[in-house]
Symmetry: C2
Subunit: 350 residues, 2 copies
């Protein structure tokens, strides 16, 4: 039986998610409902993507007993509020950044546990957004890509010897995008794209908490972070560093250096299709898509949908690819980085 999805949010990422879904077997996945704060927009979206039902409010979606899981594609400043609404009774696939801070993340997880539903953070990529202020940049879809699965396999078998250094970059020119630069929209490089780098490091270190975190950053006049460099020290003399910026282009790759070689996730590292192991390149092509997407490689969202279905069919309460403990650690690290570089949101004092 197909997994029945309810989409919350009609923004660009909702479009790309719907496009990606069409690359999967229709017997496995079905988008049953689209919900927006605007019924008109929901209907328009439903028509474009062939979705049978459209709601003009989130509450209707939360009350629909005929769906298996909600995909939450609204601005991340709303994740906590809207997430709690769905978690009262629904499974939820929540975009990145999971929330504004680790306190909110822990509340969502507590609600999920309480309601015995499936919750998994999902991360998607975006370079631009126009008009409608949905939160369209995500990250942890990365972990469902075949390249990342191969990285985990290589690390497990110590293919490049003992792990020494990990680096991850993400930089793109986003100073013209309101939700990237405005504080009230949860802007800044860290929440928008830095999260991709950090989640990669945590994946490599298998969810281990770093022994130390040192962050250096520069801020925009709006008070959010423009560029940040983070250095983390892990047990057994291992280190990682991340650089991310919304004001500079960076290679957007990630490299794991071991004592016997290196693994390079060729950019875009958050949705990669090329892996280099000691200079040997392997390609992992994406499925063909039916409509033009908004975001690079976004048919890879299908990998994530498949992971969700796998977890649902197995009765898992969270995805082993992105355990909730990793999400908590990730946001705790992000809280610490914001503290060091001097970025605070109104949500921090709530």
């Amino acid at each position: 039986m197909a997994t029945r999805w309810g989409l919350c949010g009609v923004g660009k990422i909702g479009h790309d998610f719907s496009v990606a879904m069409k690359t999967l077997p229709p017997g496995d996945h079905q988008i049953a409902v689209i919900a927006s704060r605007s019924l008109e927009r929901a209907k328009e979206f439903a028509k474009r993507h062939g979705i049978p039902k459209a709601y003009g409010s989130y509450v209707e979606l939360a009350n629909d007993i005929d769906i298996d899981i909600v995909y939450l594609g609204v601005l991340h400043t709303e994740h906590w509020r809207v997430g709690l609404l769905f978690l009262a009774g629904k499974n939820l696939l929540c975009e990145k950044p999971f929330d504004m801070n680790s306190g909110q993340v822990k509340e969502l997880i507590a609600a999920a546990k309480k309601n015995n539903v499936y919750l998994m953070e999902v991360m998607l990529k975006e370079d631009m957004v126009l008009g409608f202020l949905l939160r369209l940049s995500h990250a942890i879809w990365s972990r469902c890509f075949p390249v990342h699965a191969e990285v985990r396999r290589l690390l497990a078998e110590k293919a490049v010897g003992e792990l020494k250094l990990v680096k991850a970059y993400f930089g793109s020119l986003q100073l013209h995008i309101p939700r990237s630069v405005e504080k009230e929209l949860g802007g800044g490089a860290l929440l928008d794209i830095g999260v991709y780098c950090l989640q990669f490091v945590l994946m490599v270190f298998n969810g281990e908490r770093p022994e130390s975190i040192q962050a250096t950053g520069v801020l925009l006049d709006s008070g959010v972070d423009e560029s940040v460099i983070v250095v983390m020290k892990f047990s057994r003399n291992r280190m990682a560093f991340c650089a991310f910026s919304i004001a500079a282009r960076l290679p957007n790759d990630a490299v794991i250096s071991g004592t016997e070689g290196s693994i390079k996730v060729v950019g875009p590292m958050h949705c990669p299709t090329t892996l280099m192991v000691n200079d040997k390149e392997t390609k992992y092509p994406l499925p063909e898509r039916c409509l033009p997407p908004n975001f690079i490689d976004s048919t890879g969202l299908g990998y994530e949908a498949e992971e969700v279905r796998r977890c649902l069919l197995k009765g898992l309460k969270e995805s082993p690819r992105m355990p909730l403990a990793d999400s908590v650690l990730l946001t705790e690290i992000m809280d610490e980085i914001r503290k060091q570089v001097g970025v605070t949101f109104s949500q921090d004092s709530q």
Copy 2:
């Protein structure tokens, strides 16, 4: 008239320096003397390289009135002592790392000024050394490479817009090399190869002092640094970071990210022959050599010899490519990094 060189040290770098000299017009450069602590080795070296005179002590070289400049190629723990000997009356081209700390560097510079001689720090590259414990890894020869000249030109004309981020890497497996790992030989990644990354950053920032320095490192049991990551913040929201390690291979490249593009010095960035500006690649091939070298791209040492001759002919007291102020700042930064990661040498308390 040819510049008459006296070589101090018969190690691998002395060999490579002599080989590089043969790529230059003989009417411009002549190695007149080789000096070693062992007359036998000096004679052997002289015979192999066709050098007319060999001394079995450094004092003889210091007293030879027939040479224009001494190239100092001994272990860096000896730079201060031996450097002062030559600076009493000779011009001196001093390998990197200049000295063990900034105090020693300032003393050498004071001696140079006092004696009105030419002094320039020079940096050479090496990946391995066997047997004889000369300090063979250097760095600031880098600044005399055509690639670096082109980088300076591009920066001056803002070819990639406003400077935002600079990164430089250097990592190679050197844990089997005594002078890389032993404290009494001045070991550690910082002095050996980190200096290359830092000098690059300082070149890009035109000798500006960073506003902040944050270093995270892991140490070997011997007490020297195995791997270090350094983040520096400069004026006008600009940052730089360096990663260097003697226990992991790294790409050994350097990238300057600006608001309108990037400049990549393709590895080996300390003696580069390839530059990429916004993905457009340009090659700067090295001269052909007559004998196999010990170190990669070491015929590029000729660029440095030419710069020295140029300065001597112009009557300059230091090279504008690597001003002494940069050398002082460089070693002060290195002192600060060692302080933060916890590496001290006996020379620090002298």
